[in-house]
């Protein structure tokens, strides 16, 4: 009987309470409003109705460098319908500045904004641990994927599985995401020590 009550209680909780901490798969994504490298504001709410991909990034991290040399992120984004999918990079590095992000964006030539989160509040709300650390949020604002960009931490496999591509494709076609969480790999996010 205890289990029945637990089940009922949990059921009510899911319907009633929004997620309080950590972006958890199956739960509403934490809301945020952040400025990008040009000072323009982006909020999660404004992208409701679109699939949102969040990429925690840090241009100084060797793992991020490797993926940008290989154009992993831009190529992945190109594979999606631009009307249905929004890509946002988030930099929670304590010592990052909008200028640094702008220079990096110019050098790498990618199309999406780099959201500025030097205080680390949004990063910690999502529980972002590594760079890169990826999240896919569906049209209703529910987290559907959290984890690594692909299954190849060392950058050595010829045939890698791009988890973000798989997740976004699944969300767009109304299917369950086959691997809803994977272990992210990379450098730690260099949060402000508070």
């Amino acid at each position: 009987m205890k289990q029945v009550f637990t089940a009922l209680a949990l059921g009510t909780l899911f319907v009633g309470a929004p997620a309080l901490a950590d972006a958890e798969v199956g739960k509403p994504a934490p809301a945020f409003t952040l400025k990008d490298e040009t000072g323009k504001e982006h909020s999660l709410a404004q992208y409701k109705g679109k699939v949102v991909v969040l990429e925690w990034t840090n241009p100084e991290c060797p793992f991020v460098k490797r993926h940008y040399e290989a154009d992993t992120m831009a190529t992945t984004l190109k594979g999606f319908d631009a009307k249905k999918v929004v890509w946002l990079a988030v930099d929670s590095t304590a010592h990052n500045t909008p200028e640094k992000s702008a220079t990096w964006k110019k050098a790498e030539g990618f199309p999406y904004p780099v959201l500025q989160d030097a205080p680390g509040t949004v990063g910690k709300a999502y529980g972002a641990k590594t760079t890169p650390h990826m999240y896919v949020i569906d049209e209703q604002g529910v987290v559907r994927y959290a984890g690594a960009i692909d299954d190849d931490p060392r950058g050595k496999n010829d045939k890698k599985v791009n988890h973000v591509k798989t997740a976004v494709d699944a969300v767009l076609t109304g299917k369950p995401v086959p691997a809803a969480t994977t272990t992210p790999y990379g450098c730690s996010v260099k949060y402000k020590s508070s």
């Binding site: 289990q3 089940a7 059921g11 739960k27 209703q140 604002g141 369950p176 020590s193």
Partner: protein, 770 residues
């Protein structure tokens, strides 16, 4: 290009190290040392390929490893790097010798200043090594090369790649390199050892039988030293988990000597295999000396939480979307046993459920209610002819309604991620207490201590029809409540099928079951002549009613005994105390019925107070206080590993899936399994007899039942050593003959016997099950 550069670094670093190193290392060849992770030209790690012998005899064992030295503040990672980082990797290329798995000394835990990111690894110096063995026929010298990949981090991270090589001459004797051997021995003491070697006892008790995908879980890990010795004191970061498929995180906190509170969270995806708690535990302190051991105990199966995975719970936007969202949910919500018994179609399952429901009426648990109803019915037929149909409908309604409630509960619990079986509610002490209380109150009612729903004044008057109907419905509910522990023949398969199937099937099966259970009364109504054959009412009915009260008390005795199994002697005493209070409360209520005005109210209030107070005081059950599974001298507690051992030893295996609250099980055990001839057959065929006790929740037993398409006990399995993967499932109602035959067949199929030329067909497909 890069490789070239590093090699050059390597040469330089090697030279530097050779100069720095003590005499013994002086002969370390330049190719065996290297540096990497250049931080603006300054390498952050030095590595050296070490071997514990200067000469190896072909066929002998030796040790080989890579020693890392990091700059202060820099570290490399353990096999589970934690929140970030990358496992250090060493790929061996060793023609002429084989190298075993990498041995990892107990890791250090690193935390960012805010504690948000936790990683595991090594700073300063570490030797990651492996056992190796030279091939028997090896000649010349052994070439050893290690390709090292590591991520070296301080705040920022630099990847390191190294290729270290050296050769070791082969010779007539293995000659140890004393200094190197000391370094290996030293590293070896830091490598956690399996508890099987150290003699430590590790036991894990989870608070839930299953892990729910994406949700937290808790439990208690108890660790005892060899021979039950108390554990030494611990330091912080004493436990580091490995990466566990299906588990997002798990932590241990000390909760008294040898006890650890376990907290974890399952990943949202259900893993393919049942996760195990694997990790390393460092016992002792720096002062007392460390003793690292490995922990490897089964956790519990992870089950999906229906509503979370695919469906956005926030707002289902349109019908089309809802359908799309619902689909994955049903796919997820159906637990693995679905396929277990697809030989039973829906129609057949419904038929079995109906027949099973009808048979339930004859089971000892329902019979008292049935008799009671028959008594009431007799009176009714005389008093209110027109209402017979209505009462029968109310009774059937009560049965079907409460069965649907049960089905709903099953679905809810299943959606909540737990797996349940027939009679699952009897695993809950409070439920057992509640049913006992209802039975006692009912019995006292029959003795005339008080009257239900009727005031003393109204008693003589016309029977309140709505009350009467409610009464009938209530009896239907009681019949269902009491019926569940009696898993009648046929019912097991049908309910097992239903539990594994979709929600609609569950509901349909339960309705069929209810119709079956209500059948005897429906018949009385539908067949006109039948009702007239009932005996005429008279004074005998009052006496019969009181006799039935004793039958109900008898059922209560059984429930009290069930409570003993759940919550021990204390639990039984608490229940009995509560039942006495129930008696007192109902008696007071009966007194009140004869009073009037304020006094009546006061008496009723006192009665209610007595009930509530005794409930609060007495109804606290400590499930852990229950005695360990009772096993007779011949039976062993069921354990999959022990079963395998017995089968491997060529013994046939008989497994009795039972529970204290399952009357059918107890009946089979008393009348069949305890019989001389059955015992003799067991001894003759050296049958290993296992008892799987489901009295309290046990996820492993639930899973095993589901594997055979069952949702409840009893279940009887006979396994033959000749065909261990094809167990024979015996019917729910056993006969001695059946059991003896089954174990005989199983014994004859054992490989040792088959050689003797037995022509028995050994691929036991199992008896055709209902």
């Amino acid at each position: 290009m890069k490789r070239q550069q590093w090699k050059r670094f390597g040469a330089v670093g090697g030279l530097g190290m050779a100069l720095l190193a003590t005499v013994a290392w002086a002969e370390l060849p330049a190719s065996a040392v290297g540096t990497s992770a250049p931080d603006e030209g300054d390498p952050r790690v030095e590595a050296a390929l070490l071997v514990d012998a200067t000469q190896v005899k072909p066929g002998d064992a030796f040790r080989v490893g890579v020693r890392f030295r990091m700059d202060p503040g820099w570290h490399i990672y353990w096999k589970n790097p934690g929140d970030s980082g990358l496992e250090t990797e060493i790929a061996w290329d060793t023609p002429g010798s084989t190298v075993g798995p990498l041995q990892w000394p107990f890791p250090h835990t690193f935390r960012t200043p805010d504690g948000f990111i936790v990683t595991h690894g090594y700073d300063g110096e570490v030797l990651l090594f492996a056992q190796a063995r030279a091939a028997e026929g090896a000649t010349g010298s052994l070439q050893l090369s290690a390709a090292v990949e590591a991520l070296v981090c301080e705040v920022h991270c630099i990847p390191a790649e190294l290729m270290l090589t050296r050769s070791v001459p082969l010779g007539p004797q293995t000659q140890l390199d004393a200094d190197a051997a000391r370094a290996f021995d030293d590293a070896q003491t830091k490598v956690p050892r399996p508890t099987a070697d150290t003699g430590h006892m590790v036991k894990l008790a989870l608070d839930t039988p299953q892990l729910k995908a994406g949700q937290e879980f808790t439990g208690t890990l108890t660790v005892a030293g060899p021979g039950g010795a108390p554990l030494p004191a611990l330091e912080a970061d004493f436990f580091t988990p490995e990466r566990i498929d299906g588990v997002e995180r798990v932590t241990l906190t000390s909760a008294g000597p040898g006890r650890f509170a376990l907290k974890g969270k399952a990943e949202p995806d259900v893993p393919t295999a049942e996760p195990r708690l694997t990790g390393v535990l460092r016992l002792g302190t720096k002062a007392s000396g460390y003793q690292p051991v490995t922990v490897d105990v089964p956790l519990a199966p992870v089950v999906a939480v229906g509503a979370v995975a695919g469906a956005p719970v926030v707002k289902p936007p349109s019908v089309k979307d809802s359908i799309a969202a619902v689909k994955p949910v049903t796919a997820v919500a159906a637990p693995p046993p679905v396929a277990a018994d697809d030989s039973v179609g829906l129609g057949l399952a419904l038929l079995f459920a109906f027949l099973g429901g009808a048979l339930l009426n004859l089971m000892p648990c329902v019979f008292p209610v049935l008799a009671l109803k028959a008594y009431g019915f007799t009176r009714m037929v005389q008093q209110e002819h027109g209402r017979v149909g209505a009462h029968a409908a109310a009774y059937a309604g009560g049965i079907i309604g409460s069965l649907l409630l049960l089905a709903g509960a099953v679905l809810a619990v299943r959606a909540g991620g737990a797996s349940v079986g027939w009679g699952f509610q009897f695993q809950e002490p409070l439920f057992v207490a509640a049913v006992s209380a209802v039975l006692v109150a009912f019995a006292l009612n029959l003795f005339g201590v008080f009257n239900v729903g009727l005031d003393g004044t109204a008693l003589a008057g016309k029977v309140d029809q709505s009350h009467g109907l409610l009464h009938s419905a209530g009896e239907g509910v009681l019949a269902v409540v009491l019926a569940t522990p009696c898993s009648a023949p046929l019912l097991g398969t049908a309910v097992g099928f239903a539990f594994a199937a979709g929600p609609l099937t569950v509901l349909a099966t339960f309705v069929a079951l209810g119709l079956g259970l209500a059948l005897p009364f429906c018949l009385l109504v539908l067949v006109p002549g039948l009702a007239k054959k009932l005996p005429k009412p008279g004074a005998w009915m009052e006496r019969f009613k009181q006799v039935l009260g004793f039958a109900l008390l008898g059922t209560t005795v059984w429930l009290v005994w069930v409570m003993g199994g759940l919550a021990g002697v204390d639990g039984m005493a608490r229940l009995l105390a509560f039942l006495v209070a129930v008696g007192l409360g109902t008696w007071l209520y009966g007194q009140a019925q004869a009073q009037d005005g304020g006094r009546k109210l006061a008496t009723v209030a006192v009665a209610a107070l007595v009930l509530v107070a005794s409930g609060v005081v007495a109804l606290r059950f400590d499930e852990t206080a229950a005695p360990a599974a009772r096993t007779s001298t011949v039976a062993q507690a069921w354990d999959a590993a022990a079963v395998d051992t017995a089968l491997a030893a060529g013994q046939p295996v008989f497994i009795d899936f039972t529970a204290d609250w399952c009357l059918t099980c107890k009946f089979n055990e008393r009348t069949v399994l305890a019989r001389e001839e059955v015992r003799a057959a067991f001894t003759e065929h050296q049958v290993a007899f296992f008892v799987a006790d489901w009295t309290r929740r046990d996820a492993r037993i639930t899973a095993k039942l589901a594997e055979h398409g069952r949702a409840g006990v009893p279940m009887y399995l006979v396994l033959s050593p000749g065909a261990p993967d094809k167990p024979e499932v015996l019917p729910e109602l056993l006969t001695a003959e059946m059991v003896v035959d089954a174990v005989k067949r199983a014994a004859e199929c054992s490989p040792s016997r088959r050689k003797e030329g037995s022509n028995i067909l050994c691929a036991t497909a199992g008896l055709p099950r209902p």
